[in-house]
């Protein structure tokens, strides 16, 4: 399932949804708001082209499911204003064995970063800056 939400990500819920009796491996990626020592990040604004991002993420999810024989794949991306330490994105993949679960999870985050219409704005002591954007 794909979600883009203004609410806090509940990883436990995602993992529960991804568990299967015939899956021996569950791999989770959590991307969090990072404050590099010298940046003084105050918060992060995340913006999505919601409809296009949902569609693209579903395509990516389907690609991962079939390429890596996943049993389940769950993706949630936050939007809105996030504090340091909060989760921006969570991806949970289950598979029969760990090789596929790791590869599937990695594939989804790499493709998400490359293809999903999502943007981040860093608000720090030094000012504001769109990451990868104007």
């Amino acid at each position: 399932m794909i979600e883009i939400t203004d609410s806090e990500i509940c990883l436990v819920e995602l993992i529960k949804r991804a568990r299967r009796d015939d899956a021996g491996a569950v791999v989770t990626f959590l991307g969090t708001v990072r404050d590099d020592e010298d940046c003084g990040l105050e918060h992060l604004e995340v913006e999505a082209f919601r409809e296009a991002a949902l569609a693209e993420l579903e395509v990516i999810r389907q690609e991962a499911m079939s390429r890596f024989a996943l049993k389940a794949a769950e993706v949630v991306h936050r939007t809105g204003s996030l504090a340091v330490g909060e989760s921006i994105v969570a991806i949970v993949c289950s598979a029969g064995h760990r090789e596929e679960a790791f590869s599937g999870c990695r594939y989804i985050i790499e493709q998400l970063k490359r293809r999903a219409p999502l943007w981040k704005k860093e608000i720090s002591e030094k000012g504001e800056r769109w990451v990868g954007g104007a």
Partner: protein, 92 residues
């Protein structure tokens, strides 16, 4: 005819999130971008090079399908089309 323009990230801050525009029949994507530039010097600066070419930096979707800025700028729009204008994706 009437088209919708939606903008994201830095371009949203310049153009606003969403607006409807009346443009001439069969206006191309590039002509629509020029209309936007005519109304916003800031947008013109961010989206166009000195030469008048659209910057590589500008990403575009028509009706939620990515278009190639090198090839599809001459694509004619039709009534009701939605053009999305946005900067590169968040990446790393």
């Amino acid at each position: 005819m009437r088209v919708k323009v939606i903008a994201f990230a830095g371009f949203r801050e310049i153009l606003g999130k969403e607006r409807e525009l009346d443009v001439k029949e069969a206006a191309t994507v590039k002509e629509l971008l020029q209309v936007l530039a005519a109304g916003s010097p800031r947008f013109r600066e961010e989206a166009f090079e000195e030469s008048g070419a659209v910057r590589d930096y500008v990403l575009l979707m028509v009706n939620r399908k990515r278009i190639d800025p090198q090839q599809d700028l001459s694509r004619a729009l039709v009534d009701g089309d939605e053009l999305a204008v946005f900067p590169p994706l968040a990446g790393g």
